[in-house]
Point group: C2
Chain length 318, copies 2
DNA sequence: TTGTATGCGTTATCAA
DNA sequence: TTGATAACGCATACAA
């Protein structure tokens, strides 16, 4: 018992016994059994993180933010991959909750109703990331995808691209909100045309960007710019346009989303919408831990915003 | 007790009681406590996976392979991020082992001596991935980085690039072995020149590829091809050459490594060395599980090989 | 096929 | 400041 105390609250044990215990611990290579601890205490140091994809750069950046923040702390990150499936997410939430985690970080606003029930009854702190919206389960760190794509659309319009199109893949809830933002803004400007929107449920790749922009140009040849649902597609769009001899940015503008590192290096560099993925992971973790330690965050919802980063691919102003 | 049986070995319980139990389980929403289970049984269904990076596409593909193979099974994947640090890896191994995992999947051959000791004394199955080498702790699924870069180098030479260079970032053990392969093969052909090798410990990015190839061309302007330590660098190299008006593949050849999806879409498409990352993750998981179930794999070490994929960026043969 | 007794290694509680 | 005792919820071994 005194050993247990010594390891967790060293200040509640006398200097002398502390030293004795440490010596023995070292000699024996004693490591506490987390299972026994979890069973006795009814709680753990586990923070579960559920992302829709482990390969998508967007989420890997978020994960990295979490891992970097957690490094060296007593908190143990446990990662779940829902593969964009609300059902798999539900299973993961159930599994995680059975482990009595201290906290849960999960993506987005669109949980299944069963998952929602689980979360609302959960005895742990919860942070939703990637988006901002009403009614968080607990805390939230994200940004508005609608606003971000509206801003990007405005940028295209301001550069004089008056017949903008949109290409998207995957069509997860956040993609759909970005598409919605494009539509809203294009309609406001009176330039929305349904045949300038090309989407597919297939997972996003650079090659798919090539195909989608090809499709777009065949369906609506007068399109003079494209807002891409993400940077993979944008890079593909650039490659395809170059192959066809379509001059970027003079004849055709390209804007991506997320501002992955590679788009700045491209030729011409690609305009994109910067999002703060590392920060999102880091802040989600930090706020969660602070809440666990009794320091409630100033606000339940933190909007990290975004930045439209204009680059060569839309630099049309003469 | 009968409930415990019913949930784990349903065939050891009569049809009748099974139904009764299931009904009650459903009604109560009973979920077994994994901590109690772990404590009582002295083992878990956890398979720990330790990767050096969660952002590097190479490892995210491997992770995806593992997750896809594990989906729906009773095995629980737990991911650790060592961030290329042998010390963090050591901590992770210690943490994982304290949880009495059923298995451990970890990357490479270069563990710290302390980690090695831990692993050799570990009471769980172990799979090393990413590389092949002598003396596996237990099992191994990978390929030879030396052979792969030798083959890529030969490809460049066969295409008539007689003054090949090499650029590399990060310089983790696998990068170093690839560099070694290049050197070996270049020396064999009598075309090795130290000033045509440019490396940096910085993490690899596309932008860094631009910088490294710029550096290479200023240090050794007569270089007529570059083998890149990975595809990010290769894409950057392509961009930079295009900006400088260096004609690819006529004047200068570019070969990447890993065959990420994007390189095939580039313009010209980029030659690369295909590696089987998804398979690596999947097979590592499958063999681990089979071993746990008593079916020892045919061979302790599985070499998945690689394929040089020739593309436009080295298509020089007139 | 089912049930009983026992113990896994830790922590909460209370007493010394 | 330290220690004794009793859980925590499950699985092992054995008995019925």
């Amino acid at each position: 018992m005194t050993v247990s105390r010594a390891l967790r609250n060293p200040d509640k044990v006398s200097e002398k016994t502390l030293l004795k215990i440490k010596a023995v611990v070292d000699r024996l290579g004693y490591v506490p059994d987390p299972a026994a601890s979890a069973l006795a205490a009814g709680k753990t140091n586990v923070i579960g993180v559920i992302v829709p994809s482990v390969t998508n750069n967007v989420f890997s950046d978020v994960m990295r933010g979490v891992y970097e923040a957690a490094e060296g702390s007593k908190w143990q990150i446990q990662l779940g991959n829902s593969r964009y499936s609300p059902l798999e997410e539900e299973t993961l939430v159930r599994t995680f909750l059975s482990q009595k985690p201290a906290g849960l970080i999960l993506s987005g606003l669109d949980q299944s109703s069963e998952t929602s029930k689980l979360l609302m009854g959960a005895d742990c702190r919860i942070v939703q990331i990637m988006e901002c919206g009403p009614d968080p389960y607990d805390m939230m760190v994200g940004f508005s995808h609608v606003d971000a794509s509206r801003a990007a659309t405005r940028h295209l319009l301001e550069q004089g691209y008056d017949r903008p199109g949109y290409i998207a893949a995957r069509l997860d809830p956040r993609s759909q909100r970005r598409l919605k933002g494009f539509k809203t803004e294009a309609e406001l400007a009176g330039v929305y045309a349904p045949n300038r929107v090309v989407t597919t449920p297939r997972p996003s790749t650079v090659t798919l960007g090539c195909e989608l922009v090809a499709d777009l140009l065949s369906k609506a040849p007068d399109t003079n710019a494209v807002l891409c649902n993400n940077d993979d597609l944008a890079l593909g769009a650039l490659f395809e346009c170059q192959r066809r001899g379509v001059r970027i940015p003079e004849e055709f503008g390209i804007c991506g989303f997320n501002d992955l590192e590679m788009v700045a290096a491209a030729n011409p560099s690609i305009t994109s919408v910067r999002t703060f993925r590392l920060d999102m992971g880091r802040i989600a973790f930090e706020n969660l831990v602070e809440a666990l330690q009794g320091a409630e965050p100033q606000q339940k919802t933190i909007d990290l915003g975004f930045d439209v980063i204009p680059r060569g691919s839309t630099e049309r102003t003469a």
